[in-house]
Amino acid sequence: MGVSNPAPPSPTSLHRALGLSDDELDDIRKVLSREPNHLELALYAVMWSEHCSYKSSRLHLRRLPSKAAHVLVGPGEGAGVIDAGDGIGVAIRIESHNHPSAIEPYQGAATGVGGILRDVFSMGARPLAVMDPLFFGELDDARNRWLVEGVVSGISGYGNSVGVPTIGGELTFDQCYGANPLVNVLAVGALPTSRLALGVASGIGNYAVLLGSLTGRDGIGGVSVLASAGFSGEDGAASIDEAKRPSVQVGDPYEEKRLIEACLELLDHGYVVGIQDLGGAGLICATSETAAKGGVGMDVDVTAVPLRELGMQPFEVMTSESQERMLAIITPENLAAVNAVCDKWEVRATVVGHVVEPALMPDGSRVGLLRVREGFDGQVLGEVPASSLADEAPLYDRPRRRPRDLDAILADDPSDDEPVGDPHDDLAGLLVDTAWVSRQYDSQLFLNTVVGPGRDAALLRLAGPGLPPSRRGFAVSTDSNPRWCALDPRNATALTVAEGVANLACVGASAQAIVNCLNFGNPEHPEVMWQLSESIDGMAMACDALSLPVIGGNVSLYNESGGRDIDPTPVVGSLGVVASLVAPPPGWNWRAGDAVVLVGHREAAGGRAFPLGGSRWATRRGRRGGRLAEFDASRLRATFDFVTGEVAAVCAGEPSDLTAVHDVSGGGLAVALAEMAAATTLGVSVDELEGHGELFAEFPGRFVMATSDAGALVARAQAAGVPVSVLGVVGGTRLRLGTLVDLDVREMADQRASALERALRRD
């Protein structure tokens, strides 16, 4: 299939139609020392978009700590990688697929899974697990129910079929996500450290081979406008050819499955010099980034790219976001061997690029040029410095402003509210089992899943095809709290990091690193930029205090609808390692007669003993103001270390009196106790509680533990300098919490189990 000639020089309005500002056009002119042509303008437009260049957030992201001795690869590659021991690296990455999911929930979510997996196996890691933090509007709206069902079945349809277990996630409902749901996807993979691969092009004369699907007009964002500009003359934005509308991408998990197997086999054989996935901005992104990283030039032959549709323009070929494609850099000698592996897996492989010498500039410097050509020896359709696309995008320090009404909101504290109403209703409304979601996901493939969805963190054996033998395990948790973040994004994000570490501690894993997905509103609103900056500072503070590197992330901005921004929603994915995993952790399985103890400070750090600001309890009552607990690093560290050690001993098969562990998180102590009772249908009786505040206040750093020997556990906690108090004894069929709650456990458990499905089915 042929490509047509480059379009004539751009009309002045074209760059704006493509989403480039006048200043950005000037920057391009400076880089090129001439006017860009249509194709070049299109390449800059996609590469300098917010999505690809992080132009509003890059300045702030630099404040996050990303280094540690065990970090093999930090931010900037497909995924971050840590050394997990035993010669095994663990790769992790999180990304958002919010906007596509809002219009086609099934395919939007499905292609989100596909994209994040490619990030992980582009590092040479076999994808072992997916998690899916999801945020929707309230379920009384039919469209939101349609979105939930579509998104969940999309993740299920793609993840199960591609053969990667989905082991957990988040599920949050709030009116602020009504028109703008958030669909984040996290993936973890593991590799023999010797197979680590990077997205770098090197070796003059090497080939860039495009692997996988045909290229169609998928997801050609604002650039689609260019098409009509190219054909319909003067005003680029005036008429959009219907046929060239950006089209929704459709996922093909079967292609991806074969692509995973083929790529890992290529890497095992050592046939690959560098490899990168094709994500946003497609081929132009993969070619310019690999060339820029290698300091080389690259010639790309647009006519070589296998196409799905007739009549595609060069800019469409270069920027298409067709799914299930990878770019591998190989030596010419290995081409036949690469083709043989690809044939076996029925994966298309086409040489589309040549690595070339950096060009000699008039000033004597050498610059790697990305050249788009019609045939390797044919006409040059566009020619730009590769690094100008990849690394030299504009950087904005957008105005920031603390919301003017924030003080009033903070002062309106629900902690002072009289607990009118029925605490049973309050508790029942907070108990929602997410099993309706997670049972639609294969959570067990590879025989690694020791703790699957529905508990605290997920815990998996660190094992998989092609990995060296190991007794280790790894744990993953995703956490977020937009209600907190709306009040105090700095402290809230720090506390969210702490929640993640607490969840890992519950399965005996010590936290090694985090990744983040920063879902925020419109960065052109100074309040949103303030939230983003505060949130990043809070994350940095917590990570410094807990010695956690941030090894990757993703920023999703412009999450708004009708001019209203979503509540700030930083999602933290945390990764931990268990040194010896030969027995399951205690989980929530307390037994009759066990003592139930609260480990950690009973009262929050900061102003109030039992803060209800931003709690689920308050939100249910329509109260969205108030103050949060403070992040107290030394308290948290001591408690986390103690709990992690206690549970890790159980995982290692050591004798222990510990029978159950659960951290106190969303919904507070009442919800934690109710969840444990529901899991076992065994009740508990707790006498002394400080009223509804202690039942429903939310602040991390507290754990409910059950033990067959309270004296021993209390002694160990005290020796570690961690506060501990005995709450009560397990037994009977009722959940009794002070004088406020007295419920039949079985009934409560049934209600909790069916709550989500009832809300979705409206009965």
Partner: protein, 86 residues
């Protein structure tokens, strides 16, 4: 009156159809040559109680758009087939 309706839902032109493509790739091995442009879609048959075919078509059209397809990626085509007393 009962109108028997058929709604055909197919992916819009330009939208990738992995299912159709996979079926097409399997054909040569089965000895089918000369078969191409395979596209997979969905089919719904149902009865609509309506005074006349036009009313039935309108109901079916609305159902097709709102529930049976997502216009962002799919086209829906409605056919009113036969009429039987309700």
């Amino acid at each position: 009156m009962n109108h028997s309706v058929i709604v055909e839902v197919t992916l819009r032109r330009g939208i990738a159809d992995p299912q159709g493509a996979t079926i097409e790739r399997a054909l040569p091995a089965l000895g089918f040559t000369g078969v191409h442009s395979m596209r997979a879609g969905k089919l719904f048959r149902f009865d609509v109680e309506a005074a006349d075919a036009e009313e039935a078509r309108a109901t079916a059209q609305s159902l097709a758009q709102r529930l049976l397809s997502n216009p962002v990626i799919e086209d829906a085509h409605v056919r009113v087939e036969e009429v039987r007393p309700a």
